[in-house]
Amino acid sequence: MYRYDAFDQRLVDERVAQFRDQTRRYLAGELTEDEFRPLRLQNGLYIQKFAPMLRVAIPYGLLSSRQLRMLAHIGRKYDKGYGHFTTRQNIQFNWPQLAEVPDILADLASVEMHAIQTSGNCVRNITSDHFAGAAGDEIVDPRPYNELIRQWSTFHPEFAYLPRKFKIAITGATTDRAAILVHDIGLQAVRSDDGDVGFRVIVGGGLGRTPIIGHVIREFLPRAEILNYLDAILRVYNRFGRRDNMYKARIKILVKEQTPAVFAQHVEAEWEHLKGGPATVPDEEVARLAAHFTPPPYETLDGDDTGFRSAVADNRAFSNWVKRNVFPHKKPGYAIVTLSLKKTGVPPGDATSDQMDTVADLADAYSFGELTVSHEQNLIFTDVRQSQLLALWSELKDLGLATPNIGLLTDIVCCPGGDFCSLANAKSIPIAEAIQRRFDDLDYLHDLGDIDLNISGCMNACGHHHVGHIGILGVDKNGSEWYQVTIGGTQGERAAIGKVIGPSFAAHEMPDIVARLLDAYVAHRHEDERFVDTVRRLGIDPFKERVYAAAH
């Protein structure tokens, strides 16, 4: 992974000093609340219902075991012994004291981490494919470009006060695991016929109040031009994006109002001025960054491990876990493992400090000391030998991180919701838990197969409900909490926004509503057809009828 040099370290250290002074001035009354707000937001510090919430950046989700141990330490020392992994591959601490935040940042800086631009109207943490470097369908390893763009976005002087927040996602694989179609900018690293690396550039996607699928504005951008082109897009947005209404300030609204074709013309015109300029990326810089992401010392193995194959055949519980939580690796004899943070009764994405410490030890023992946070709020070991899967599974079971539910109904993506977040209209964690409790029969879950169930506590859509096969959105009706249901949403290269099935429901009805949706699916599905494919084939009517016939 990328390691800081003296230049990177100084920048982060100077940020700690800057924020320490800003916090001091605020606590001394030299800065008003209004003056301090944009400063703390640029550093991931929200004032929540009960305490400040600090969001720490995990660039493109990649962590070393040493960094994870520091997150465990921070959870223990400054919080209540846990952290919450987010849908932007970051981690949030829900209970720190404002006066202690500079010390937390100093601790983070000691392991090459920070909270820079984790909120505010600026370029946020760059997100990427959680299988990067290990996936068999990878055309280009995105990580050197993730880091290049992380550096470009960090303290970019021109773009610290954009009309609204700005999210960039990057993938280098044919399967889109980074949701690039629902980001302000999505970049897909590709190769030209000549083998040159470049990017397909997608702009104006997003969730939130106005969900929109992004538009391709350039099919192939040579990699040397990537920063010039990003500067061009951001400059057009910074100058012409709406600032009169925060709900219409995202770039997707500008792209929609101008039309993607006209917006693209403006970007290309701006790029003409910047092309070949100082920000053109030299091959040497790409090579320097790529050297940080060389493959770990894999052993040369012949195909599948026989011991692993027989363990799968003999042990049903292990086999269930392998079926759902283990993914193919580009190297023979290796596997990608997902640690489920979706155990029933634990808020989705939460991990205790003790769990984090043990996961760090396991990463050292089984996966070259690194792990990745996925935007589905799970943890990934990308490089595990098949012959060690049984031993790893056994340790993960003891830790409560081996729930065999990845991609299943109970692998719920969920924001913190009304239990913590001051933006929320409704709670989301108790809804997730009620659904997990209702559907605790593993055989039934496996029979249902792949179902993405996403829950957001408000229109800001941190739980990505629009792209859940089943999406649940908390809404406020006359001061009480209700839940609107969408179906048919999809992430990935066939991204689609879910359709609302009808009037919303009370919290206690939600497990029944999900059960009726599933009944309709089981009644109508073709063999080997996923829930979302049945919705696509039949539309929402059969589902709607089943849900509301029983409800009213």
Binding site: E14, Y161, A279, E284
Partner: protein, 170 residues
């Protein structure tokens, strides 16, 4: 006289900022709105000590022909959160090669100074009630940065990663 941060020091500001277009100009030195400048360009250009200020919605390209003649261009920040002025500054410096004083006015506070300076501003009028002397330190919040700005090339062009052209040819 109000204070001005200029070239890293606090000095007295001798310029008057004319916020609204007016039929009769106050005596110079004066910074007039872009609309006033465009309406009476020939007349104003003949006066010494006339500058122009731009609102966030103004197009800096309209001053492209005037950059050599103008001693001061100001850019207004109606709110800290309105970041359009940063792009305007870079365009004036990098695209239109403006060399004169570029000042940030309006809702300008010390915690914005570093980024404003990198965007190309070299003069700052802090909003009312803010001590300019205290604010000087914030110009040095960071020693350096990654990106190309009005003040520097990207770090990867200075870090030794890229061989100088002469060396790579040999």
């Amino acid at each position: 006289m109000p204070q001005l941060i200029k070239s890293g020091a606090v000095i007295q500001d001798r310029w008057t900022l004319l916020r609204e277009p007016a039929a009769a100009l106050p005596s110079s030195p004066v910074i007039v709105p872009l609309a006033t400048w465009l309406a009476s360009r020939a007349e104003l250009a003949a006066c010494a000590d006339v500058g122009v200020w731009l609102a966030p919605t103004d197009d800096p390209a309209l001053l492209a022909a005037d950059v050599a003649a103008l001693p001061v261009i100001a850019v207004d920040f109606p709110r800290v959160a309105d970041g359009r002025g940063y792009s305007i500054a870079r365009l004036l410096r990098e695209r239109y090669a403006y060399q004169g004083e570029l000042r940030a006015v309006g809702d300008v506070a010390r915690d914005q100074l570093y980024f404003l300076h990198q965007a190309g501003f070299d003069a700052f009028v802090l909003r009312d009630g803010k001590d300019a002397q205290d604010a000087l330190a914030s110009l040095r919040d960071f020693t350096d940065g990654y990106q190309a700005t009005a003040r520097r090339t990207p770090w990867f062009r200075r870090s030794g990663v890229v061989m100088p052209a002469a060396a790579s040819e040999s």
